[in-house]
Protein backbone atom coordinates (compact mmCIF):
# COMPACT_ATOMS: atom_id res chain seq x y z
CA UNK A 1 0.00 0.00 0.00
CA UNK A 2 1.04 3.58 -0.40
CA UNK A 3 3.04 4.16 2.72
CA UNK A 4 5.65 6.89 2.31
CA UNK A 5 8.77 5.81 0.48
CA UNK A 6 10.84 8.59 1.99
CA UNK A 7 11.70 9.75 -1.52
CA UNK A 8 9.64 11.92 -3.81
CA UNK A 9 8.57 10.29 -7.10
CA UNK A 10 11.16 10.73 -9.85
CA UNK A 11 8.54 11.39 -12.55
CA UNK A 12 5.42 13.50 -12.78
CA UNK A 13 2.19 13.02 -14.72
CA UNK A 14 2.66 14.03 -18.35
CA UNK A 15 6.38 13.25 -18.47
CA UNK A 16 7.73 11.02 -21.23
CA UNK A 17 9.46 7.88 -20.02
CA UNK A 18 11.03 4.77 -21.45
CA UNK A 19 10.74 1.27 -20.02
CA UNK A 20 14.11 -0.37 -19.49
CA UNK A 21 14.95 -2.94 -22.14
CA UNK A 22 16.82 -5.18 -19.71
CA UNK A 23 16.16 -8.76 -18.79
CA UNK A 24 15.18 -9.83 -15.29
CA UNK A 25 15.92 -13.02 -13.44
CA UNK A 26 13.04 -14.38 -11.39
CA UNK A 27 9.71 -12.76 -10.55
CA UNK A 28 9.10 -9.46 -12.29
CA UNK A 29 5.94 -7.45 -13.01
CA UNK A 30 7.18 -5.59 -16.09
CA UNK A 31 5.73 -7.34 -19.15
CA UNK A 32 8.15 -8.22 -21.94
CA UNK A 33 6.11 -6.51 -24.62
CA UNK A 34 6.56 -3.10 -22.94
CA UNK A 35 10.30 -3.30 -22.35
CA UNK A 36 12.25 -0.75 -24.34
CA UNK A 37 9.12 1.19 -25.29
CA UNK A 38 8.39 4.86 -24.65
CA UNK A 39 5.24 6.08 -22.96
CA UNK A 40 3.87 8.92 -20.88
CA UNK A 41 3.21 8.96 -17.13
CA UNK A 42 -0.58 8.98 -16.78
CA UNK A 43 -0.53 9.12 -12.97
CA UNK A 44 1.59 8.42 -9.91
CA UNK A 45 -0.01 5.66 -7.83
CA UNK A 46 2.25 5.97 -4.78
CA UNK A 47 4.84 3.75 -3.10
CA UNK A 48 4.36 -0.01 -2.87
CA UNK A 49 6.25 -3.02 -1.64
CA UNK A 50 8.68 -4.36 -4.21
CA UNK A 51 7.17 -7.47 -5.86
CA UNK A 52 10.59 -8.63 -7.04
CA UNK A 53 11.58 -9.04 -3.37
CA UNK A 54 8.19 -10.04 -1.96
CA UNK A 55 8.20 -13.04 -4.30
CA UNK A 56 11.21 -14.42 -2.42
CA UNK A 57 9.86 -13.97 1.11
CA UNK A 58 11.69 -10.66 1.62
CA UNK A 59 9.85 -7.70 3.18
CA UNK A 60 9.70 -5.89 -0.17
CA UNK A 61 11.74 -2.89 0.97
CA UNK A 62 12.67 -0.27 0.03
CA UNK A 63 9.24 0.66 -1.28
CA UNK A 64 9.05 1.45 -4.97
CA UNK A 65 7.02 4.21 -6.58
CA UNK A 66 4.43 2.78 -8.96
CA UNK A 67 3.18 4.66 -12.02
CA UNK A 68 0.42 4.25 -14.53
CA UNK A 69 2.18 4.53 -17.88
CA UNK A 70 0.28 5.21 -21.07
CA UNK A 71 1.50 3.81 -24.39
CA UNK A 72 0.25 4.46 -27.92
CA UNK A 73 -0.80 1.13 -29.39
CA UNK A 74 0.71 2.21 -32.72
CA UNK A 75 4.07 2.59 -30.92
CA UNK A 76 3.86 -0.87 -29.34
CA UNK A 77 2.85 -2.81 -32.44
CA UNK A 78 4.18 -1.84 -35.82
CA UNK A 79 1.16 -3.29 -37.64
CA UNK A 80 -1.48 -2.17 -35.13
CA UNK A 81 -4.82 -2.21 -36.94
CA UNK A 82 -6.85 0.28 -34.89
CA UNK A 83 -7.02 4.08 -34.91
CA UNK A 84 -4.01 6.14 -33.83
CA UNK A 85 -5.73 7.22 -30.63
CA UNK A 86 -5.95 3.70 -29.14
CA UNK A 87 -3.82 3.28 -26.03
CA UNK A 88 -2.63 0.72 -23.54
CA UNK A 89 -1.99 1.54 -19.90
CA UNK A 90 0.06 -0.54 -17.48
CA UNK A 91 1.35 -0.11 -13.93
CA UNK A 92 5.16 0.03 -13.89
CA UNK A 93 7.57 0.42 -10.96
CA UNK A 94 10.01 3.33 -10.97
CA UNK A 95 13.21 1.28 -11.24
CA UNK A 96 12.02 0.07 -14.65
CA UNK A 97 11.56 3.62 -15.97
CA UNK A 98 14.00 6.17 -17.33
CA UNK A 99 13.62 9.46 -19.16
CA UNK A 100 12.59 8.98 -22.79
CA UNK A 101 15.67 9.35 -24.98
CA UNK A 102 13.88 9.09 -28.28
CA UNK A 103 15.64 5.86 -29.16
CA UNK A 104 12.58 3.71 -28.92
CA UNK A 105 13.08 0.04 -29.52
CA UNK A 106 11.26 -1.11 -32.63
CA UNK A 107 9.44 -4.36 -32.89
Amino acid sequence: MSAGSGRPPRFRAGESVQVAGREAVGHCRTPWYLRGHAGVIASVHGAYHDPERLAYHKPGLPLKVLYKVRFRQADLWRDYKGPANDHLEADIYEDWLGPADGKERGR
Binding site: R29, Y33, L66, Y80, P83, D86, E89, D91
Partner: protein
Protein backbone atom coordinates in the same frame (compact mmCIF):
# COMPACT_ATOMS: atom_id res chain seq x y z
CA UNK B 1 -19.85 -49.93 -9.84
CA UNK B 2 -20.35 -49.97 -13.57
CA UNK B 3 -19.89 -46.96 -15.75
CA UNK B 4 -23.56 -46.89 -16.68
CA UNK B 5 -24.59 -46.95 -13.10
CA UNK B 6 -22.51 -43.83 -12.31
CA UNK B 7 -24.08 -42.02 -15.22
CA UNK B 8 -27.66 -42.74 -14.24
CA UNK B 9 -26.98 -41.98 -10.62
CA UNK B 10 -25.55 -38.55 -11.41
CA UNK B 11 -28.60 -37.77 -13.50
CA UNK B 12 -31.04 -38.77 -10.79
CA UNK B 13 -29.40 -36.38 -8.40
CA UNK B 14 -30.00 -33.53 -10.79
CA UNK B 15 -33.59 -34.45 -11.36
CA UNK B 16 -33.11 -35.65 -14.94
CA UNK B 17 -34.56 -38.92 -16.13
CA UNK B 18 -33.88 -40.62 -19.37
CA UNK B 19 -37.22 -40.59 -21.06
CA UNK B 20 -39.50 -38.52 -23.21
CA UNK B 21 -37.76 -35.16 -23.02
CA UNK B 22 -34.16 -36.17 -22.53
CA UNK B 23 -33.03 -38.44 -25.31
CA UNK B 24 -29.92 -36.69 -26.60
CA UNK B 25 -26.64 -38.49 -25.98
CA UNK B 26 -23.91 -36.76 -24.00
CA UNK B 27 -20.78 -37.84 -22.18
CA UNK B 28 -21.03 -38.87 -18.54
CA UNK B 29 -20.05 -36.27 -15.95
CA UNK B 30 -16.91 -37.45 -14.18
CA UNK B 31 -16.76 -37.19 -10.42
CA UNK B 32 -14.27 -34.46 -9.60
CA UNK B 33 -12.30 -36.81 -7.35
CA UNK B 34 -12.27 -39.69 -9.84
CA UNK B 35 -8.86 -40.93 -10.89
CA UNK B 36 -5.45 -40.37 -9.32
CA UNK B 37 -4.56 -36.97 -7.81
CA UNK B 38 -2.28 -34.74 -9.84
CA UNK B 39 1.14 -33.84 -8.42
CA UNK B 40 -0.15 -30.32 -7.61
CA UNK B 41 -3.18 -31.69 -5.80
CA UNK B 42 -0.93 -33.91 -3.69
CA UNK B 43 1.35 -30.94 -2.99
CA UNK B 44 -1.58 -28.67 -2.04
CA UNK B 45 -3.00 -31.27 0.33
CA UNK B 46 0.41 -31.92 1.93
CA UNK B 47 1.15 -28.22 2.46
CA UNK B 48 -2.37 -27.55 3.74
CA UNK B 49 -2.18 -30.38 6.30
CA UNK B 50 1.25 -29.23 7.44
CA UNK B 51 0.09 -25.61 7.88
CA UNK B 52 -2.87 -26.80 9.95
CA UNK B 53 -0.74 -29.27 11.96
CA UNK B 54 1.81 -26.57 12.78
CA UNK B 55 -0.90 -24.11 13.81
CA UNK B 56 -0.17 -21.57 11.05
CA UNK B 57 -3.80 -21.70 9.94
CA UNK B 58 -6.90 -23.73 10.76
CA UNK B 59 -9.44 -25.63 8.72
CA UNK B 60 -12.04 -23.09 9.91
CA UNK B 61 -9.98 -20.20 8.56
CA UNK B 62 -9.63 -21.89 5.19
CA UNK B 63 -13.36 -22.62 5.05
CA UNK B 64 -14.09 -18.98 6.01
CA UNK B 65 -11.93 -17.74 3.12
CA UNK B 66 -13.74 -20.03 0.69
CA UNK B 67 -17.09 -18.76 2.00
CA UNK B 68 -15.92 -15.16 1.58
CA UNK B 69 -14.88 -15.83 -2.02
CA UNK B 70 -18.20 -17.56 -2.74
CA UNK B 71 -20.08 -14.54 -1.39
CA UNK B 72 -18.54 -12.30 -4.07
CA UNK B 73 -20.33 -12.45 -7.41
CA UNK B 74 -20.88 -10.13 -10.37
CA UNK B 75 -24.27 -9.25 -8.80
CA UNK B 76 -22.37 -7.30 -6.17
CA UNK B 77 -20.53 -5.31 -8.84
CA UNK B 78 -23.81 -4.75 -10.71
CA UNK B 79 -25.31 -3.21 -7.58
CA UNK B 80 -22.38 -0.81 -7.38
CA UNK B 81 -22.68 0.19 -11.04
CA UNK B 82 -26.44 0.75 -10.77
CA UNK B 83 -25.89 2.94 -7.71
CA UNK B 84 -23.27 4.97 -9.60
CA UNK B 85 -25.69 5.40 -12.51
CA UNK B 86 -28.44 6.77 -10.28
CA UNK B 87 -26.43 8.76 -7.74
CA UNK B 88 -23.94 11.24 -9.22
CA UNK B 89 -22.35 12.00 -5.85
CA UNK B 90 -21.75 8.29 -5.21
CA UNK B 91 -20.28 7.92 -8.70
CA UNK B 92 -17.84 10.76 -7.99
CA UNK B 93 -16.79 9.08 -4.75
CA UNK B 94 -16.45 5.70 -6.50
CA UNK B 95 -14.13 7.19 -9.10
CA UNK B 96 -12.13 9.11 -6.48
CA UNK B 97 -11.76 6.36 -3.85
CA UNK B 98 -13.24 3.03 -4.87
CA UNK B 99 -12.58 1.18 -1.59
CA UNK B 100 -14.24 3.90 0.51
CA UNK B 101 -17.27 4.04 -1.79
CA UNK B 102 -17.63 0.24 -1.66
CA UNK B 103 -17.43 0.44 2.13
CA UNK B 104 -20.47 2.73 2.11
CA UNK B 105 -22.39 -0.17 0.57
CA UNK B 106 -21.03 -2.58 3.17
CA UNK B 107 -18.56 -4.19 0.74
CA UNK B 108 -15.15 -4.80 2.27
CA UNK B 109 -12.46 -5.51 -0.33
CA UNK B 110 -9.66 -6.03 2.18
CA UNK B 111 -6.19 -4.58 1.84
CA UNK B 112 -4.38 -7.04 -0.45
CA UNK B 113 -5.00 -5.00 -3.58
CA UNK B 114 -6.23 -1.50 -4.33
CA UNK B 115 -9.25 -0.98 -6.54
CA UNK B 116 -9.69 1.65 -9.22
CA UNK B 117 -12.86 2.36 -11.12
CA UNK B 118 -12.42 3.35 -14.76
CA UNK B 119 -15.31 5.01 -16.50
CA UNK B 120 -16.44 4.33 -20.04
CA UNK B 121 -17.48 7.50 -21.87
CA UNK B 122 -18.50 8.27 -25.45
CA UNK B 123 -14.80 9.02 -26.03
CA UNK B 124 -13.15 6.08 -24.24
CA UNK B 125 -13.93 2.37 -24.05
CA UNK B 126 -11.92 0.58 -21.34
CA UNK B 127 -11.07 -3.11 -21.27
CA UNK B 128 -9.11 -4.93 -18.56
CA UNK B 129 -6.60 -7.77 -18.81
CA UNK B 130 -3.75 -9.21 -16.79
CA UNK B 131 -1.12 -10.36 -19.26
CA UNK B 132 1.18 -11.68 -16.52
CA UNK B 133 -1.32 -13.90 -14.71
CA UNK B 134 -4.99 -13.39 -13.88
CA UNK B 135 -5.28 -10.33 -11.61
CA UNK B 136 -8.97 -9.50 -11.27
CA UNK B 137 -11.17 -7.58 -8.78
CA UNK B 138 -12.15 -10.87 -7.11
CA UNK B 139 -13.33 -9.38 -3.83
CA UNK B 140 -16.01 -7.54 -5.76
CA UNK B 141 -16.79 -9.74 -8.78
CA UNK B 142 -15.82 -13.18 -7.49
CA UNK B 143 -13.81 -15.76 -9.43
CA UNK B 144 -12.89 -14.61 -12.96
CA UNK B 145 -14.31 -16.40 -16.00
CA UNK B 146 -12.06 -19.10 -17.51
CA UNK B 147 -11.50 -17.10 -20.70
CA UNK B 148 -10.04 -14.20 -18.69
CA UNK B 149 -7.18 -16.51 -17.70
CA UNK B 150 -6.73 -17.99 -21.18
CA UNK B 151 -3.55 -17.36 -23.14
CA UNK B 152 -5.66 -16.36 -26.15
CA UNK B 153 -7.46 -13.52 -24.36
CA UNK B 154 -4.42 -12.35 -22.43
CA UNK B 155 -2.25 -12.06 -25.52
CA UNK B 156 -4.75 -11.04 -28.18
CA UNK B 157 -6.64 -8.30 -26.32
CA UNK B 158 -3.37 -6.43 -25.97
CA UNK B 159 -2.27 -6.68 -29.60
CA UNK B 160 -5.64 -6.47 -31.33
CA UNK B 161 -8.26 -5.31 -28.83
CA UNK B 162 -10.83 -4.20 -31.38
CA UNK B 163 -11.03 -7.64 -33.02
CA UNK B 164 -11.29 -9.36 -29.64
CA UNK B 165 -14.03 -6.94 -28.56
CA UNK B 166 -15.87 -7.57 -31.84
CA UNK B 167 -15.77 -11.31 -31.09
CA UNK B 168 -17.50 -10.49 -27.79
CA UNK B 169 -20.09 -8.50 -29.79
CA UNK B 170 -18.71 -5.08 -28.90
CA UNK B 171 -18.01 -2.80 -31.86
CA UNK B 172 -16.23 0.33 -30.74
CA UNK B 173 -16.57 3.27 -33.17
CA UNK B 174 -13.28 4.44 -34.72
CA UNK B 175 -13.70 7.85 -33.06
CA UNK B 176 -13.75 6.24 -29.60
CA UNK B 177 -10.40 5.42 -28.01
CA UNK B 178 -9.96 1.80 -26.99
CA UNK B 179 -7.95 1.83 -23.77
CA UNK B 180 -6.55 -1.51 -22.64
CA UNK B 181 -5.56 -1.73 -18.96
CA UNK B 182 -2.93 -4.33 -18.21
CA UNK B 183 -3.22 -4.84 -14.43
CA UNK B 184 0.43 -5.62 -13.91
CA UNK B 185 0.84 -4.62 -10.26
CA UNK B 186 -1.05 -3.82 -7.04
CA UNK B 187 -4.15 -2.30 -8.60
CA UNK B 188 -7.35 -4.00 -9.70
CA UNK B 189 -9.65 -2.38 -12.22
CA UNK B 190 -13.43 -2.23 -12.36
CA UNK B 191 -14.97 -0.84 -15.55
CA UNK B 192 -17.95 1.45 -15.00
CA UNK B 193 -19.96 0.93 -18.20
CA UNK B 194 -22.12 3.67 -19.74
CA UNK B 195 -25.76 3.70 -18.75
CA UNK B 196 -27.83 2.73 -21.80
CA UNK B 197 -30.18 5.27 -23.33
CA UNK B 198 -33.87 4.83 -22.56
CA UNK B 199 -33.37 3.81 -18.94
CA UNK B 200 -34.10 7.18 -17.37
CA UNK B 201 -37.01 5.96 -15.27
CA UNK B 202 -35.58 2.58 -14.37
CA UNK B 203 -35.16 1.66 -10.73
CA UNK B 204 -31.70 0.91 -9.36
CA UNK B 205 -32.68 -2.75 -9.04
CA UNK B 206 -33.83 -3.00 -12.66
CA UNK B 207 -30.64 -1.27 -13.82
CA UNK B 208 -28.50 -3.72 -11.84
CA UNK B 209 -30.22 -6.52 -13.76
CA UNK B 210 -28.61 -5.46 -17.05
CA UNK B 211 -25.08 -4.99 -15.70
CA UNK B 212 -23.25 -8.15 -16.68
CA UNK B 213 -19.92 -9.44 -15.44
CA UNK B 214 -18.36 -8.88 -18.85
CA UNK B 215 -19.55 -5.27 -18.96
CA UNK B 216 -17.48 -4.64 -15.82
CA UNK B 217 -14.40 -6.16 -17.53
CA UNK B 218 -15.05 -4.13 -20.67
CA UNK B 219 -15.90 -7.01 -23.00
CA UNK B 220 -19.63 -6.24 -23.10
CA UNK B 221 -22.03 -3.30 -23.18
CA UNK B 222 -25.15 -3.38 -20.98
CA UNK B 223 -28.20 -3.94 -23.20
CA UNK B 224 -31.76 -2.87 -22.46
CA UNK B 225 -33.26 -5.91 -24.18
CA UNK B 226 -31.92 -9.37 -23.50
Amino acid sequence: MTHDHDHDHAHDEHGHHHGNDHEHPHPPQKDHDAGPMSAYEVLEEAVRSLLIEKGVTTADEIAAQIDLMDSRTPALGAKVVAKAWTDAAFKARLLADTAAALNELGIDIGTLAEFRTIENTPGVHNVVVCTLCSCYPKLLLGIPPAWYKSLAYRSRVVVDPRSVLAEFGVRVPAGTEVRVHDSTADLRYLVLPMRPAGTDHWSEERLAGIVTRDSMIGTAIPETQA
